[in-house]
């Protein structure tokens, strides 16, 4: 049977288009039953793989931005389903409402109970509208904090998946204290008595990302980005032209490799060939084993040691002259 071919959809994947067309033709011929094209098809598939490999090993920062934001990129709920057993979503901040841009819940990771959370984007415009494009309101951050407290009370590790363009900029968000909600999370995350792993899975957008991202260990997917402002925002302010976002993406150093070099993250998690959306299952498998590997050493630490570990990690961040 002809497999449904995943067409290249990102602008820089153009070199693949022609190859895919050829592959489709070969398959049509093969399906017609007149010729045996098995060898040719295999050859073409290999070639596509090689070209894809080559493309993805040399992405520039603005291409990485496209991958990180790609609508097909696995979301928090995708990963929860693929990595954990018995995920149950728990809702609401017990104060104002339930923020659909932030999902939280309980789950089992490799036989161990964990509390999980993450910003949730959609795979379609409709889903994205319902999820506010993964931009959380104060009640989202407060819901996350409520779940962190639950984790402490029952001594469960916390895993957060970060994927957001930023916290939501709106009237209600400001009135209900977006700044306070994020600030409080930062302080409280530093003091958590349980092991805490954060993963930047897609877009690590500024304070809205950091608001659930202060783990003992911070991991980052190979094609995720992490930055204090979007490349477009940076370009429009500092370069006086939003169209110069590509330059800003380079100047700001936003890739996983940059984050590792600057000591912001602890490990880069490999993605499948052609990025996580090409094979979400495999992406989740890689991520799961990275989380388990990083969580294990933390499990033997006392509450005091965990707090000290986190304090030391963030206390030393900063580069200046003295």
């Amino acid at each position: 049977m002809t497999q449904k071919i995943k067409r290249p959809l990102l602008a820089f994947e153009k070199p693949l288009v022609e190859l895919y067309e050829k592959l489709e033709k070969l398959q049509e011929m093969s399906d017609s039953g007149k010729f045996d094209m098995t060898e040719e098809i295999k050859h073409m598939e290999k070639r596509i793989e090689a070209v894809r490999q080559q493309l993805y090993t040399s992405l520039n920062p603005s291409q990485v931005v496209q991958v990180a934001r790609f609508i097909q990129r696995p979301t928090a709920l995708d990963y929860f389903g693929l990595m954990f057993d018995d995920f149950v979503e728990l809702h609401g901040d017990r104060n104002f409402g339930d923020d659909p841009a932030m999902v939280t819940g309980i789950a089992t990771l490799d036989g161990r109970s964990v509390i999980v959370m993450g910003q949730q984007k959609g795979h379609s415009t409709k889903e994205n509208l319902a999820r506010n494009f993964g931009t959380a309101h104060p009640e989202g951050y407060r819901k996350a904090l409520r779940l962190m407290r639950l984790a402490e009370r029952y001594n469960k590790p916390i895993i957060s998946l970060v994927d957001t363009p930023g916290a939501y900029p709106g009237i209600g968000a400001e009135e209900r204290g977006q700044a306070e909600a994020i600030a409080k999370n930062l302080r409280e995350m530093a003091e958590l008595t349980v092991p805490f792993i954060s993963v930047i899975t897609g877009e690590g957008g500024s304070g809205g990302a950091l608001g659930i991202g202060m783990g003992n260990k911070v991991l980052m997917l190979e094609f995720a980005i992490y930055s204090v402002i979007s490349p477009e925002g940076c370009a429009s302010i500092l370069f006086r032209d939003a169209k110069r976002a590509n330059e800003a993406a380079v100047a700001m150093k936003i890739t996983a490799k940059d984050m590792l070099e600057l000591g912001i993250i602890d490990e880069i998690v490999k993605e499948p060939l052609g990025a996580a959306h090409q094979d979400p299952k495999l992406a989740a498998k890689y991520l799961k084993s990275a989380i388990i590997k990083n969580l294990n050493p933390l499990l033997s630490l006392t509450a005091r040691e965990l707090i000290a570990d986190r304090y030391n990690k963030y206390r030393k961040m900063g580069i200046f002259n003295e």
Partner: protein, 288 residues
Amino acid sequence: MASTLSIHDWFNRKQEQKSAYSRERLDIPGNVWVKCFKCGQAIYAKDLEENSKVCPKCQYHFKLTSAERIRQLADKESFKEIDPNLTSKNFLNFTDSKSYTARIEDSILKSGLKDAIKTGLAKINGYDVALGIMDFSFMGGSMGSVVGEKIARLIETAIEHKYPVIIFSTSGGARMQESIMSLMQMAKTSAVLGRLRETGLPYISVLTDPTTGGVSASFAMLGDVNIAEPNALICFAGPRVIEQTIRQKLPAGFQRSEYLLEHGMLDIVVDRNLMKETLTKLLKFFKN
């Protein structure tokens, strides 16, 4: 997106206020009269100084430098600066229309400051405090590694001496030229404040015009008591960015001190002339 907003807005505001701001600056030493930025009232420069740079007619609070603020608050000659020599470094080799190195050098020359905050130990009406005062005249009070580090050290010094902490904020947000490292200063300052809290020492945050983005979303909003000067812009995302996002007119007074007070985000809005007195009452409360 988050800090985009406030910094973006701060930038626009800065452009808007530039003329007024330079008018304040230019007129004071040379001419005897200063025009109020808000109500247009001509004020005798000496009267303005004596009124803590608050317009006597409309109560508009002119911006203060950190040195002016220290003069108004700290008991005479009590302020002992700590870490005066930390300076910013262009560790990413960041260049936009100008290199970050050149921006730092220019700001040092123009403001006479090393970076956007002064920290030290001081006395306020006899009460010992660890005092941090941000200064908008250094790159819009933006927070990079130096601001974060100086705040962290200030709080650690306070813990060592068992002093309460008071920080006056004014900031356009995170310093983009330091990219991700500026974001991490939010984590750092908040973590150190967590430790202060554990020791049971009080922290009073005073938000002045403007306090936005990464600074409001970290140490500025974490006071045991949050105070603001009247009519200060205090926000996470700036008004213009919100307007662009939601395409709606914003309510009157939105994101100003009084609006935040009404929405439960501040403890008290205090006129600058009553600031020292109010801080003294709080310090007394915490001490007794």
